[in-house]
């Protein structure tokens, strides 16, 4: 008897949720005007295609320090440093945010999660401006902006990894009389490290992607020339930049999957 009752309630809840989801989707679809393909689409696409097929090879390298190769290197350097900074900042925040006991309300974890959310909500653009005021325009501001901005995302991923990690080794060290810090060093850290490394690599990829925003702060990197090429409809330059990014991604991907495999 009792059992059927709960099922009825469950089913009712299920219907409410389903209706809610349907409503949200109707609302969303309603809000997007579905414009068709543009009159100029075919000629524009052809122009883009032509540009991409005939990339501006002279831009690849010309020794000026402001060619494709140098800009890609700068982009990588910014993403790399930014990722390293955020990886270090994320770890303490992640431990703060991880909910390690199964309580309904968990103040420490809630505080940590709200902090991480706040960092994520701060647009990269605004962070970039804050850092320019501090260290001046240039790549360093870009590094800091990416470094801080990534903390929100990396911290969240880290904390979820911590919540889901295997705690059995920790139990053994506690049973052997280890203190909290000792347990962390001996059991927690080695267990969690591969997950942290893997997320960090992943974040590195995303940071490379953020590079386009860095044009705002004069950080250099591929973002600015790309934006200019796009704005002036210089498709052959866009083409070579695209090619450069594709190659860079292939290289990064190969490296990071090799590293991931070794971590396994």
């Amino acid at each position: 008897m009792n059992k059927t009752k709960t099922t009825a309630l469950e089913r009712f809840k299920w219907i409410v949720v389903a209706l809610l989801v349907i409503f949200i989707y109707l609302w969303s679809i309603n809000g997007i005007p579905f414009t068709g393909i543009q009159k100029s689409a075919s000629s524009v696409s052809m122009a883009i295609l032509k540009g991409i097929i005939h990339p501006e090879w002279s831009y690849v390298y010309n020794g000026s320090g402001e060619d494709l190769v140098s800009q890609l290197v700068i982009t990588l350097a910014i993403a790399f440093l930014g990722t390293i900074i955020s990886a270090f900042l994320s770890v303490p925040l992640a431990f703060l945010a991880a909910q390690t006991t199964k309580k309904f309300f968990h103040p420490r974890s809630t505080i940590g999660k709200v902090i991480l959310t706040a960092i994520r909500a701060f647009p990269e653009v605004v962070l970039a401006i804050l850092f320019i005021k501090m260290v001046g325009p240039g790549s360093f501001a870009g590094v800091l902006a990416i470094g801080v901005h990534s903390v929100g995302m990396l911290g969240k991923l880290f904390s979820e990894a911590i919540e889901e990690m295997d705690r059995s080794a920790e139990t053994a060290i506690i049973a052997a009389g280890g203190s909290k810090i000792q347990t962390f060093r001996i059991a927690t850290l080695p267990t969690i490290l591969p997950a942290l490394m893997s997320y960090t690599l992943y974040r590195f990829e995303i940071s490379v992607r953020s590079a386009s925003i860095l044009g705002l702060v004069g950080a250099g990197g591929i973002g600015t020339p790309m934006m200019f090429a796009l704005q002036t409809r210089d498709w052959s330059k866009t083409g070579i930049i695209l090619l450069g990014i594709v190659l860079m991604v292939i290289v990064i991907d190969t490296c990071s999957s090799t590293i991931r495999k070794r971590l396994g």
Partner: protein, 263 residues
């Protein structure tokens, strides 16, 4: 109790590999710092300047909220539709990219490369190309977001599929089930929770990246963000940031709830 501790090989005794990796990373950090002009002095000397703009954000211009409400809603709508489209396309691809489901390494490699390319191509570039084809407007935003979501979800997802318990999969194969049947019965139940969580996560990223999309006229709150910044109207910028914060907080809460429910 005296007992000789067996010697390790030279390479392992002196942690040659570990030290080499550390050294390489340090060198990379050094050169990256050189390239990017890291200036620790400036960082500390001018630390107070960091707060100048933040200070001006202390008193948000709340009435502005009514003005951006519509756009905020549109941002959400774009993110929801874009993420959903991306997620639906991502699902089959993530199975194809998972090592434990598809054994053909070459096909898998190609799919993975395409996925990581989509993830890494800057939003700006994607949006600009789509603007050129689909014109200005939220639909372009939706397409850009869908594209990115596809790459992102597929990746998060094949990573997860590779960690599932293969026991039920083998059990199903042993009953003579086809691949699709096996996935339906033994894999889907294991991954549906994570799928929801990844979906919410990408949704959140998409809500946030609309601050960039606005820069290209692809709709969303980013337009207002840029306007308030260009007018140095930081109290209004603050309203926008807080609005995004609220949305992200809600999404995060839902995602945490779903994650816990489905564990």
């Amino acid at each position: 109790m005296k007992q000789e501790v067996p010697q390790l090989s030279f390479v392992r005794r002196f942690h040659v590999v570990g030290i080499a990796i550390t050294v390489v990373i340090l060198i990379l950090i050094y050169y990256s710092a050189l390239i990017t002009g890291v200036d620790v002095n400036a960082f500390f000397e001018n630390a107070d300047q960091f707060g100048v703009v933040l200070n001006q954000m202390k008193h948000p211009d709340w009435p502005y909220l009514t003005k951006i409400a519509g756009t905020l809603a549109q941002t959400l709508q774009m993110a929801i539709i874009g993420t959903t489209i991306g997620a639906i396309i991502a699902l089959p691809f993530s199975f194809l990219a998972a090592r434990n489901i598809v054994r053909n390494p070459i096909g898998r490699l190609i799919i993975r490369l395409i996925l990581s390319l989509i993830r890494t191509l800057p939003t700006l570039l994607l949006a600009a190309l789509f603007v050129a084809i689909f014109g200005i407007g939220p639909m372009t935003g939706v397409i850009t977001l869908a594209f990115f979501s596809f790459g992102m979800i597929a990746k998060l997802f094949y990573d997860f599929i590779e960690t599932i318990d293969m026991g039920p999969v083998r059990a199903l194969q042993a009953t003579g089930a086809t691949m699709l049947q096996t996935i339906r019965i033994a894999v889907i139940p294991q991954i549906s929770g994570q799928f929801m969580s990844d979906f919410m996560y990408t949704l959140e990223i998409n809500v946030r990246s609309s601050t960039v999309l606005g820069y290209l006229g692809a709709g969303g709150i980013g337009l207002y963000l840029q306007q308030t910044l260009d007018q140095f109207d930081y109290p209004r910028t603050a309203v926008i940031i807080l609005a995004i914060f609220a949305v992200v907080l809600v999404i995060d809460a839902i995602s945490n709830y779903v994650r816990k429910r489905l564990q």
